[in-house]
């Protein structure tokens, strides 16, 4: 194996040194499994050769971007070869006149957006990890982010892909056009597939004009129901804010106690933003949103229009993850998503589960699209806490599904949620998923052991 891989990528782009494989045994979840080797291909041809070789020899291959996944998505549970795409990081074409960007899979999101910003354009999905996350990883997990309610997720921007299929063939699928119903939408099949169906090597993305103005408001509520009402009334008012975030009282308390950000002792805080091409448009939208926020008995409302004040209002939300990460050594960060009107039920439910098991769960997230992030705080070296954490997670999943929600809005299933797939998907659907996987990947070499597909 070593000889063949070195032949394909060169000595400098191959490793089977234990200490180099150790970091590849992890992502940001708690799953740990060792790969047998790692390669840094520099071209699609090399990826093709690697996959062909792996398929002939039935060796698992795991495509990997920045490895920021929170689900074990890139952790090699069956060993095998890590294909690290970080060196394939060229922006191949930015076509403003045709509104697309064509990039290699290893391009970092922020790098792409910096390039697009020069033309006044943007690729809107903005996961928290955008400073390091790759476009290939975004596509593989259908990454979302804060602006999902208005701008959708990665799926909405994927026009076409170049994919190395598990059977060692190269496929270009999709289009360079804004519309396309020519054949099955195979490109979308690979979006969110977490590398189980092939290695994405190039991506054609639709891009948007960059909104020129934005206005921000923050509202706190003494009752969760009021906050919940404010959210779904806003989302159905005719105005779709570009941001509609919520933080629960555990999150607020943690920020208040561990930073110098002054926050009221409230049940929930909403952060919202309207954006647009002109000030008038932004203000008119905000007026509607503010009217609704005010109608639902807020404790306090603040607004900001200049950059400095805006950043101030954003401070609490931006610091949520870091504060919680500092308060507790270990945590699990989930991404259950429910229909928007069920958010208060989800929040109340999570708080109940947290109390039942004596495990702190702080919840914040993208209320505008129903996607919440319960951050479960525990100590990974305390077996009892680990067990209770698993139970908390399980109950949160059951709760989300019972509210007509889904296990994962934007992180993916990976290893961590694989056991819960049948909770959300009926046997017929599971069977079809497995058949699709088997058809494309008869030897089960592509990121095996994930999402209960094998």
């Amino acid at each position: 194996m070593i000889k063949k891989l070195v032949e394909i990528v060169g000595q400098d782009n191959f490793t089977d040194q234990l200490e180099e494989l150790v970091p590849y045994s992890y992502d940001a979840s708690m799953n740990v499994y060792r790969p047998d080797a790692a390669v840094w291909p520099e071209s699609t041809e090399q990826v093709l050769a690697i996959v062909k070789f792996a398929n002939e020899n039935k060796i698992p291959v795991i495509p990997r971007g920045a490895g920021t996944s929170l689900s074990g998505g890139v952790v090699p549970i069956k060993g095998g070869i890590i294909i690290d795409l970080s060196k394939m990081n060229k922006i191949l074409e930015v076509s403003i006149e045709n509104r697309y960007a064509h990039v290699q899979a290893g391009v970092v999101c922020d790098d792409l957006n910096r390039e697009l910003a020069r033309h006044g354009f943007i690729f809107p999905p903005d996961p928290a990890s955008s400073s390091v996350a790759t476009i290939g990883g975004n596509v593989a997990t259908n990454a979302g982010g804060i602006k999902g309610a208005k701008y959708g997720t990665t799926r909405d921007y994927v026009l076409g892909l170049q994919v190395v299929l598990p059977t060692g063939e190269l496929m270009r699928t999709g289009s360079y056009t804004m519309k396309c119903v020519s054949g099955y939408d195979l490109a979308k099949l690979f979006v969110g597939a977490e590398g189980t169906l092939g290695v994405i090597t190039e991506v054609t993305l639709k891009i948007n004009p960059l909104p020129r103005y934005a206005m921000t408001a923050v509202a706190t509520y003494a009752r969760l129901e009021d906050a919940g009402k404010a959210i779904f009334q806003t989302m159905t008012s005719g105005v779709i804010p570009s941001v509609m975030e919520i933080m629960d009282k555990v999150t607020l308390k943690s920020i208040r106690e561990n930073t110098d950000i002054a926050l009221p002792d409230a049940e929930a805080m909403i952060l919202t933003e309207t954006d647009g091409f002109t000030w008038e448009e932004v203000e008119a939208q905000m007026e509607v949103v503010l009217g609704i926020l005010k109608n639902n008995h807020p404790v306090e409302i603040k607004t900001a229009r200049d950059e400095k004040d805006r950043l101030n209002l954003w401070k609490a939300r931006k610091s949520a993850y870091a504060t919680l990460a500092r308060v507790s050594s270990s945590f699990v960060l989930d991404d259950v998503t429910v229909p928007i009107s069920r958010i208060p039920e989800l929040l109340v439910g999570i708080q109940g589960i947290s109390q039942n098991y004596g495990i702190v769960v702080a919840t914040f997230g993208h209320a505008g699209d129903g996607n919440l992030h319960p951050q479960i705080l525990y100590n990974e070296y305390d077996p009892d806490q680990v067990e209770r954490t698993h139970k908390v997670e399980k109950e949160i999943f059951h709760l989300a599904i019972s509210l007509n929600g889904t296990l994962s809005g934007e992180h993916g299933i990976g290893i961590s949620k694989a056991n819960y797939m049948t909770l959300e998907h009926d046997p017929v659907e599971m069977d079809l998923m497995r058949r699709i996987k088997k058809t494309l990947d008869p030897n089960n070499i592509m990121n095996p052991g994930k999402r209960a597909l094998d």
Binding site: T15, Q17, L18, E19, E20, V22, P23, Y24, S25, Y26, D27, A28, W40, A66, G67, T68, D84, S86, K87, V108, D110, S129, S131, V132, Y321, A322, A325, R326, S329, S330, F331, N379, E380, Y381
Partner: protein
């Protein structure tokens, strides 16, 4: 096999605190160059975790991995979980040595011990600036003294022009760098420096090297120094300079001056006085990318170090289109000058050196045009 790593409370806490978010990938100069997770802070924290948990045996090549860090601290500044990976790297380098893994810096320690400088130079340039007594003592450090002599010459000229009453001393290496590469400061050298400096009767010690600045200021071996320690940018910030340039000027924050010592504003205050056309690079101040020279990295991996400087330099040129790049650190200056390609038009100076040049242009403009 030696495997006596201590894993004290601080280390244990940092290891579990790292959430493996990988955000540090965006700022690590060595990761940027190699794209290898092991080069990144997160990779090193994971190695430490497995060492602590007994899952990874401590081998020579594991020990080697901890040498690949410029201790630039950019990961620390950008870590959402409050981890300070470079501090762990430094402490690990010491533990590794303690466990019997000598590293390539052992030779550097011996050189410093024997010659009083990191390069093993036997002759020290006499700058002709040594007096018996003066209110200010100037300390240059090894890199300036032995590798950027022309730049130092200009810095000295500037102090003369500004009529600063200073003296130099028979300095030896402050030897603080040994602490960062697995060994310990040389107490006898520290004592020698203290005695020499105190002899001058100076009230203030001015350093041109940001690293020396930190050592004099922070290291316990220098606690009896008894002088106020100032980096030269702190010392010069309130001076009136009678020179100006219209050229487009930018500034690179040395990691040791910026992130490590918190000195960001003083150099900028000086630059604003002399260069109205000043532009910041995109990655600047707390987020400035490292030039690749620090933490022993240049000594151990010279080629990669220069390639990192090349990346940083190209990025600065692309961001700013500046004609002049200023910094105030002999190591950064040295690395950038080595990295500069001929076709790159940018000129690179230490700020003090550039000021002296402006004074010279003012007094003999014809020369400049020639």
């Amino acid at each position: 096999m030696p495997n006596q790593i201590k894993f004290d409370e601080k280390m244990r806490k940092a290891i579990v605190q790292c959430s493996r978010c990988s955000f540090c990938r965006a700022v690590c100069p060595i990761f940027d160059l190699t794209k290898r997770p092991i080069a990144n802070a997160s990779g090193k924290m994971i190695l430490l975790k497995e060492l602590m948990e007994g899952k990874l045996p401590l081998t020579e090549s594991v020990a080697q991995a901890f040498l690949r860090c410029t201790t630039c601290m950019n990961c620390t500044t950008n870590c959402p979980s409050g981890v300070d990976p470079q501090e762990m790297v430094k402490s690990m380098r010491k533990d590794m040595v303690g466990a019997g893994f000598n590293n390539l810096f052992k030779a550097m320690g011996e050189t410093i011990e024997k010659y009083g400088n990191i390069y093993g130079e036997t002759e020290r340039h006499d700058w002709g600036r040594k007096k018996e007594k003066a209110p200010y003592t100037l300390f240059l450090g090894c890199v300036g003294t032995y590798r950027e002599e022309e730049s130092v010459q200009e810095t000295l000229r500037l102090l003369d022009i500004l009529k600063v009453d200073y003296t130099m001393v028979d300095e030896v290496c402050c030897s603080g760098v040994l602490e960062d590469v697995g060994y310990s400061i040389k107490e006898d050298l520290a004592r020698r420096n203290i005695i020499e400096i105190q002899k001058t009767g100076a009230k203030t010690l001015i350093t041109t090297c940001p690293y020396c600045y930190r050592v004099f200021k922070e290291h316990p071996s220098y606690k009896d120094l008894g002088l106020e320690v100032k980096h030269i940018t702190q010392f010069l910030k309130d001076f009136d300079f009678k020179v100006k340039t219209d050229k487009k000027v930018t500034y690179h924050d040395p990691c040791d001056l910026g992130r490590h010592a918190g000195i960001y504003d003083e150099p900028r205050e000086i630059i604003r006085k002399i260069a109205p056309n000043f532009v910041e690079p995109r990655r600047t101040r707390e987020n400035a990318m490292c030039c690749g020279a620090g933490g022993g990295f240049r000594g151990a991996f010279a080629k990669e170090s220069v390639r990192i400087a090349r990346n940083r330099l190209s990025q600065i040129i692309e961001d700013t289109g500046a004609e002049i790049l200023l910094t105030e650190c002999p190591s950064c200056l040295h690395n950038f000058r080595n990295a500069k390609r001929q076709k790159q038009k940018i000129e690179i100076y230490n700020l003090t050196e550039f000021l002296a040049k402006l004074y010279q242009e003012k007094t003999s403009p014809a020369k400049e045009a020639a």
